[in-house]
Symmetry: C2
Subunit: 229 residues, 2 copies
């Protein structure tokens, strides 16, 4: 490798806004920092990008270290590069959002050195965040608000089998407004990408709802990559 690139004290990191949906609430994963700067503050999970890692790989690794999970749905959405966003030097941070299914077990691995513990926090009740993480979070939330209208990302927040009411809840909590039940169902079913599983919800103390799953194959066939939910 020829050494001709100018260099200075700088590096890049990834920060992740990890969304989860649970009991009707939209939550994100926060860590309590165990290191300076911002020791003991709440922060978004993040880390320095490794030498041999692409950005996507790095984001996946960070999330895996934190949760033990892999194959999580993630998308890069913005890069934050203000000169003084990190008190110790020039750190440009590439932000990702992740969407994951909280299937009952909300267990998150306690983690290594830089964080004491990770917790799920309702997005409507966040503590003060380290660095410019408040801004990163807000932009991430905006992003999924916009994207949920055109792409099938809501399903990433639900278990494989879900009811229409659960799906509607996801939309309502992300868009932050009530939707009409009949209109929602009519429209959602009209896309033809939900597969009726002929199966009912289990263990509820009222009339059980029909379970559906998202038919990825059919979605890909019908729409290249675009839809209007």
């Amino acid at each position: 490798m020829i050494e001709v690139l100018p260099k200075f004290d700088s590096t890049f990191s990834i920060d992740c806004v990890v969304f989860g949906f649970d009991e009707g609430e939209l939550k994100i994963l926060l860590i309590e920092r165990n290191e300076e700067p911002f020791k003991d503050w709440w922060a978004l999970p993040g880390n320095i990008v490794g030498e041999g890692e692409s950005l996507d790989q790095s984001a996946a690794r960070i999330l895996n270290e934190l949760t033990g999970l892999s194959n999580i749905y993630m998308e890069q959405y913005y890069t934050f590069g203000d000169v003084n966003r990190h008190p110790q030097g020039r750190v440009v941070s590439i932000a990702y959002y992740a969407l994951l299914r909280l299937g009952g077990e909300k267990a998150v691995k306690p983690i290594s050195t830089y964080a004491k513990q990770a917790y799920w926090r309702n997005v409507k009740d966040l503590p003060k965040l380290a660095f410019d993480h408040q801004q990163i979070f807000e932009k991430g939330l905006e992003k999924i608000k916009r994207r949920i209208k055109h792409q099938p990302i809501a399903f990433e927040l639900l278990p494989e089998k879900f009811t229409l009411t659960q799906l509607q809840n996801v939309y309502e909590v992300i868009l932050n407004k009530k939707l009409d039940k009949r209109n929602f169902r009519k429209k959602m079913l009209s896309f033809g990408v939900l597969k009726d599983l002929d199966e009912k919800q289990q263990g509820v103390s009222f009339r059980a709802a029909t379970l559906y799953k998202f038919d990825k194959r059919r979605y890909a066939k019908l729409f290249g990559k675009e839809i209007s939910f």
Copy 2:
């Protein structure tokens, strides 16, 4: 500044997809490289981010050096970080698109060291590009295709005073499809953000069209930041 950040041979750069609209064609600005690697290749204008610069500042500087213009409309849209995208080391590149008015004078400054000259090229007829710039361009084009449907960015490509036909041309060339004239006008005018200037086009050899301008103030009042063009 405390020295605790891990470091390795890496840096970040900005690459710009500079769109211009001229004689019914959508063009971008390409440079012919004067330096290794990819000497003599065509490439997107770009440069290393300076120590004291935010990303937005850096993007604005690069464009200014290239065109002599400032206050250009620019938006960051994606960050490219594959490990081997740059043959000489790890360079993460933050991509911006810029939109600018080619008001007749398409003159672009001949430029300094790293490029011989900059040229406007029709997006439908691009040469092979250096690095991963083809990919960066494609993603940028996709981005404005999407954004033109919801945000008033078309006006950035037109002179202050423009005709409805010119505006329609911008939409057609970006969306890459014909639009119905009457429907386009009806809808566009219905938003109430175009100001009829009571003025006609000059110097055309046929019936002159009415000139309009985009009423930013009114737009901001009516729509926070959103619309559906």
